[in-house]
C-alpha cells in the first residue's frame, strides 16, 4: 500500500527570463514501511522533490497525497498540524533549537501535540535512549558533537511516532564515522519498526542501506534502483 503518491509534480521558481524549472513532472510512489533514497548530482532537484513530498513546499503543478490525504489542498495551519502529527524531519544542519536542551528539543513537538510535561519528558528520554544519548538529556546542542546533534534530531523526529520520516542529507555535515552511525540508526529503525523513511543523499554508500534508490537528473527521475 502506498503511503505517498506524487503525481506530475512541477516546481518552478522566478518569473519570465529568470524562471527556473526545477522539477519537470515527477510521478512517484512510496510504499508504507519502505526506506527510499533520492540521489542525484547537485542541482538535480532531489531536495526540491523532498520538500514537495514532505509538504514543506507547494508544487507549482501536480499534487501529493500522503496517507490518503491530498495535502496540496491543505491551508497553512492545516499543513503545520499535518506535519506535526504525521511527519518527522531530519535536516542536514540538525535544526535543533539552540536554547533548548536535548530533551526539550525532543519534547517540543510532543508538547505541541498536547502531551503533559511529564509524558513528553518520559517519551523524550525513551527516544534519546534509543539513539544512545542517555547521558546527554540536559546538554544544549552547542555542547554536543555534530553526530550527537543529528541523533537528537532523529530522536525528535521519531518521538511522535510519525508515519513517515524525511531526512534531507542527514550525513552531509558529519564525518564518516558519525555519518555511518546515523545511517545505521535509520536502518535499524526502519528494520525494527517498519518505519517509512525518505532520505535525500548524494553518497551511494549510505543509500545502499535502503530498499530503493530513486535517481534524479535535471528535474526528472531517470532511474529507479530496487535494492531489496
Amino acid at each position: 500500500m502506498n503511503i505517498i503518491t506524487a503525481t506530475n509534480i512541477h516546481r518552478t521558481f522566478g518569473e519570465g527570463d529568470v524562471k527556473a524549472h526545477i522539477l519537470k513532472g515527477i510521478d512517484l510512489t512510496v510504499a508504507t514501511g519502505e526506506f527510499v533514497a533520492i540521489m542525484g548530482k547537485s542541482g538535480a532537484g532531489k531536495s526540491t522533490l523532498m520538500y514537495q513530498l514532505s509538504i514543506l513546499d507547494e508544487p507549482s503543478q501536480g499534487g501529493v497525497e500522503i496517507d490518503g490525504v491530498c495535502v496540496s489542498e491543505l491551508h497553512e495551519n492545516e499543513r503545520t498540524a499535518f506535519r506535526l502529527h504525521t511527519l518527522g524531519y531530519v535536516f542536514q544542519n540538525y535544526a535543533l533549537v539552540p536554547d533548548l536542551s536535548a530533551e526539550e528539543n525532543v519534547m517540543l513537538p510532543l508538547l505541541m501535540r498536547g502531551q503533559t510535561w511529564d509524558q513528553a519528558k518520559q517519551r523524550a528520554h525513551h527516544s534519546l535512549d534509543n539513539v544512545d544519548l542517555s547521558s546527554k538529556y540536559r546538554n544544549l546542542p552547542s555542547t554536543l558533537s555534530g553526530g550527537e546533534q543529528q541523533r537528537v534530531a532523529i530522536a525528535r523526529a521519531l518521538s511522535g511516532k510519525p508515519k513517515i520520516i524525511f531526512a534531507d542529507e542527514p550525513t552531509a555535515n558529519l564525518d564518516t564515522v558519525s555519518g555511518t552511525q546515523v545511517i545505521e540508526l535509520l536502518t535499524r529503525l526502519h528494520r525494527g519498526s517498519n518505519q517509512t523513511i525518505v532520505m535525500v543523499t548524494h553518497e551511494r554508500e549510505y543509500a545502499m542501506s535502503c530498499d530503493r534508490i530513486i535517481h534524479m537528473e535535471d528535474g526528472l527521475v531517470t532511474n529507479i534502483e530496487q535494492l531489496t
Partner: protein
C-alpha cells in the same frame, strides 16, 4: 493553552540563554524609558506641587478663612475662634490682621531732602507669634536675626522682598529698603500714625506673600492702626491630618455651623492662586506629550530589538514551523520576551522612582525661583503609565515576530528571500 505553554517554554529559554549584557542593556533602556515617563512629567508637575506645598506649609495652612467678598473683615471672629477650639481635628490656628503701611529706614539720618528716602510700601501682618509659629513655623524662614518673642514689644520681622539685597534687581520695580539689618530701627506709618520698631529678623520664603510682608504682634498692629475691633483679616488653620479628605471634612463641619455666613472657608487647594493651577495643567499636558514621545521611542526600540532577534532566528523559526509548531506559539515566545523586558525595566523604574528619586527630591528639592521643585509620582498615575507602556510593548514585540513567523516556511528554513 498548549500554544501558550510552548511559547512560554521557547521564550523563557531564549531569555535564559541570551547574552547577559545584551539583556541588561535592553532592560536598562526600558528602565530609562519608564523613568522618562514618570520623572520628566513628575518633575514638571513637581515644580508646581512644590509651590502648592509651600503655600500650604508657609502661608494658608490646611484651611484658610477670609472675609466674605463684600466684607473687609471676617465677621464675628471670636465666634469662629470658639468654634475652632471645639474641633479636635484642628491642631492650631493663627488669627491674622493686616494693614497697608509705609516702612522708612533712613528717617533719622536723612537731613538733606535731596537724598532719596529709604522707604517701601508694604503690608503689615499682625500675628500672635506663638500661634503663627504653630501653623506656619515662621521662625524656620527667619534668615537673619531672630523670630518675634511674644513677651517683647517694639520688634518687627521684615520680609526679604522689602530689602534690596534679596531682590536681585527687582527693587527698581517693587521698591525696597537698602542697608537694613536686624537691630536697625524702622518707622512704620499706618494712616496718620507712626511708630518706631526695631528689626528683629528678616523672613524669606518662596510661598505666596510670606517674604513680602512685615510681621509684628497683632496687639501692636491694632494699637498702631487704632483698630479696636477683634475682627480679623485671615485665619489660617493647621489640621492634625493634612490630607485633603480631612480638610474637606473639617470644612464641611465649619459650613454646617454656618461659618460661611461670617466668612469664606476654603481648603488650601481651593485657595491656591489660579495661575498655579493653570501652570500645573499646562505642565501636565507637556509632561504627557513628553511621555508619549517616550512611549513611541520605547515601542520602536522594542520593535527593533524583537525584529533583529526574530530575523536572526528566521531559520530556526522556519524549522519550528516545519516540525509542526504552531506559529502563534512562536510569536508568543517573542511577545513574552517583550513582556519580560517591559516588566523588568518598569519594575526597576518603579524601584528607582520610589526608592531613590522621590525621597531624594523630597530631601533635596530643585531650587527654582518660585518654588522648591519635588518629584511628583502618584501611584495611580505610575500604574497607568506602566499599563500603557506594557501594552504597547506587547504590540511592539508581537508585530515584528508575526512578520517573520508568517513568512514561507521553506524560505525561512533555507534562508531564501
Amino acid at each position: 493553552m498548549r500554544t501558550l505553554r510552548i511559547g512560554f517554554l521557547l521564550g523563557f529559554r531564549q531569555i535564559q540563554r541570551a547574552n547577559f549584557w545584551t539583556t541588561t542593556l535592553i532592560i536598562f533602556v526600558m528602565m530609562l524609558t519608564f523613568l522618562n515617563l514618570i520623572a520628566v512629567s513628575g518633575i514638571l508637575i513637581g515644580l508646581i506641587a512644590g509651590s502648592e506645598r509651600a503655600v500650604q506649609d508657609q502661608s494658608t495652612g490646611d484651611i484658610i478663612i477670609t472675609p466674605l467678598d463684600d466684607e473687609d473683615k471676617i465677621l464675628q471672629t471670636e465666634t469662629i475662634r470658639r468654634t475652632l477650639d471645639t474641633l479636635t481635628e484642628v491642631s492650631s490656628y493663627s488669627i491674622r490682621y493686616q494693614q497697608g503701611a509705609q516702612v522708612a529706614a533712613n528717617y533719622k539720618t536723612r537731613r538733606d531732602f535731596g537724598v532719596e528716602p529709604n522707604v517701601v510700601g508694604a503690608r503689615v501682618r499682625g500675628i500672635d507669634p506663638i500661634n503663627e509659629e504653630a501653623v506656619t513655623a515662621l521662625s524656620d524662614y527667619v534668615v537673619e536675626g531672630e523670630y518675634l518673642n511674644p513677651n517683647e514689644a517694639g520688634y518687627v520681622l521684615i520680609g526679604a522682598l522689602n530689602i534690596d539685597r534679596y531682590t536681585d534687581g527687582f527693587a527698581d520695580i517693587t521698591g525696597s529698603l537698602t542697608d537694613v539689618f536686624p537691630g536697625d530701627s524702622v518707622r512704620i506709618t499706618i494712616g496718620e500714625a507712626s511708630q518706631e520698631f526695631t528689626v528683629k529678623g528678616i523672613v524669606d520664603a518662596k510661598a505666596g506673600d510670606v517674604a513680602s510682608l512685615v510681621y509684628m504682634p497683632e496687639k501692636e498692629l491694632r494699637r498702631l492702626s487704632s483698630n479696636s475691633s477683634r475682627d480679623a483679616d485671615e485665619i489660617a488653620i493647621r489640621l492634625a491630618d493634612k490630607s485633603p479628605e480631612t480638610g474637606n471634612a473639617v470644612k464641611a463641619v465649619l459650613l454646617s455651623q454656618n461659618i460661611d455666613d461670617l466668612a469664606k472657608v476654603r481648603t488650601f487647594q481651593e485657595a491656591l492662586p489660579k495661575f498655579l493651577t493653570d501652570i500645573k495643567n499646562t505642565f501636565s499636558i507637556l509632561g504627557t506629550f513628553i511621555g508619549a514621545v517616550g512611549i513611541i521611542v520605547a515601542s520602536i526600540t522594542i520593535f527593533i530589538i524583537i525584529f533583529i532577534n526574530a530575523i536572526s532566528r528566521r531559520q530556526q523559526i522556519g524549522i519550528l514551523k516545519g516540525i509542526g509548531i504552531d506559529r502563534k506559539a512562536i510569536a508568543v515566545a517573542y511577545v513574552l520576551q517583550s513582556a519580560v523586558y517591559a516588566l523588568t525595566g518598569s519594575l526597576l523604574g518603579v524601584l528607582v522612582t520610589y526608592g531613590i528619586l522621590v525621597g531624594y527630591f523630597d530631601r533635596n528639592p530643585i531650587d527654582f525661583p518660585f518654588s522648591d521643585g519635588i518629584l511628583v509620582a502618584e501611584p495611580i498615575g505610575t500604574l497607568y503609565r506602566f499599563i500603557i507602556l506594557f501594552i504597547i510593548t506587547l504590540f511592539a514585540g508581537f508585530i515584528p515576530a508575526w512578520i517573520i513567523v508568517k513568512q514561507n516556511t521553506l524560505n525561512s528554513i533555507l534562508g531564501r528571500k
